[in-house]
Symmetry: C2
Subunit: 274 residues, 2 copies
């Protein structure tokens, strides 16, 4: 999916919501455990009930990997099931020496090899340029690079002072040499809305993937006010607050209500801040 | 495996060699492609022929993941097959918010969930403390944290000047608050032997996992001279130079010769520098 196509989806749906599929076998409603593939059955119903209100889905790879080969099969079926109109994100936080990152790219982008065909993958920057660029060798695919994450530990290294700027600002600047806004996005946590102005000064055009709204406590209006650019430039993720809104048989209906509520709030901010 | 048990293995075998199982379906000998599980068949023969000369095996997870569920099955069989006397490393470079790192820990440490039961996992430090500590919640398991990697891109961020020291020195210092030498190791590339003295001044007791000898050009004697501590404190990895020493039917025999040659060199350095 291209930058323009993504903006088109956002404009049409009045939504920049990404639904995080952090599907944990230990948390899904008990009645699903009787089905052949409880993880896929859960995701399928979540997708059916939320697709109208979001523009993106983000399976969190850890949750599938924790189940071994079966989890991987559930992931394949899930990615296959997501409508082509939705931007898919492998939230994998990968990154290794060039040779190995090339294999991770095969894993998430090359359907003939792994069965998976995501639009994008989240990548950790610590290992530098040659750990990131192999993902960009796959035409039309996106890298979503970690900049400032939403967790408490983000301050351990990301905010260190590096020659007058923070490390995350340095990551934003250096990585622009690897790809532009048409192929790269950045992860910026909703838990740090006051940093968005600083970030937009460095990357005015890029999309930002913003986790941390919902269970982690980020504020959607502040993120939208300080983070939005002229192409919206935001994908705001909510995972647990949507998919675990209920753990009964009404889980899909409750997920729909949560997703719809976020979409309606986003429609207001698109009018106000775009 | 404990610190003392690992040192015992090294002393007994006169080797601190780790064999990297970067097993690529596109590179293994053609005659294996007829077997049911070529990746496992290759690994099995490599393990049989090298086990006497090494103390550790390090499957590079990207290579298995690139093959989807089948790759994951080959990985399970491989880990199961590695003798219990050998320290196993999931070279996965994972790391995410606490909740998610906990799931990655299940993936690599909890056999009842994923089918895998590694002794250790490589972890990227960018997301800080709560991305690392969930792995340490599994008793007896190790975290091997990226410090200074062997690839060209390592200088993009790892060598940035952070308040008078490099970022990788900062990672070494800060992460010591999370676990000691009995539970944590560091990745330090063999391609930077001149840095080992600086690193040993910060982490005198820790084991260092040293990739980059062999295909990447690192010098084993320099690494041993500057990196060894009183418990050896080194696991030196070689992957491609051993496992792809031949791509004919004699691949296992050639791998054995390469591993044995490295072991013999290591025996000399153990006498000289320990």
């Amino acid at each position: 999916m291209t930058y323009q196509e993504l903006f088109q989806q956002i404009s049409t749906k009045r939504s920049y919501l990404c639904v995080g599929l952090d599907t944990d076998i230990q948390k899904i409603p008990a009645h699903l455990l009787k089905t052949d593939d409880p993880i896929f059955e859960f995701n399928k119903q979540i997708i059916d009930s939320t697709a109208d209100y979001c523009v993106s889905y983000k399976p969190n790879i850890a949750f599938y990997e924790a189940l071994g080969p079966k989890g991987w099969e559930s992931l394949q079926k899930t990615v296959e099931y997501i409508p082509k109109s939705h931007f898919t994100i492998a939230d994998a936080k990968r990154g290794d020496i060039g040779n190995t990152s090339g294999l991770y790219a095969r894993a998430f982008f090359d359907k003939s090899s792994s069965g998976l065909d995501f639009d994008s993958i989240t990548v950790a920057p610590y290992m530098g340029s040659d750990s990131v660029t192999p993902f960009l060798a796959f035409e039309g695919k996106w890298v979503i690079l970690l900049a400032l994450t939403s967790n408490p530990g983000s301050s351990d290294f990301q905010r260190l002072n590096v020659e007058g700027n923070t490390l995350f600002e340095n990551v934003l600047r250096t990585s622009q040499e690897w790809a532009g806004a048409e192929r790269m996005m950045y992860v910026v946590g909703a838990t740090h809305p006051s940093d968005f102005q600083k970030i937009r000064a460095i990357v005015p055009d890029h999309f930002l993937l913003v986790p941390g709204v919902g269970a982690q406590g980020g504020n959607l209006e502040e993120v939208s006010k300080f983070g939005m650019n002229k192409s919206c430039g935001l994908l705001v993720n909510a995972s647990r607050s949507i998919i675990y809104a209920s753990n009964g048989t009404d889980f899909a209906e409750k997920a729909k209500q949560e997703a719809q509520a976020l979409q309606q709030e986003m429609a207001i901010y698109l009018d106000k801040y775009l």
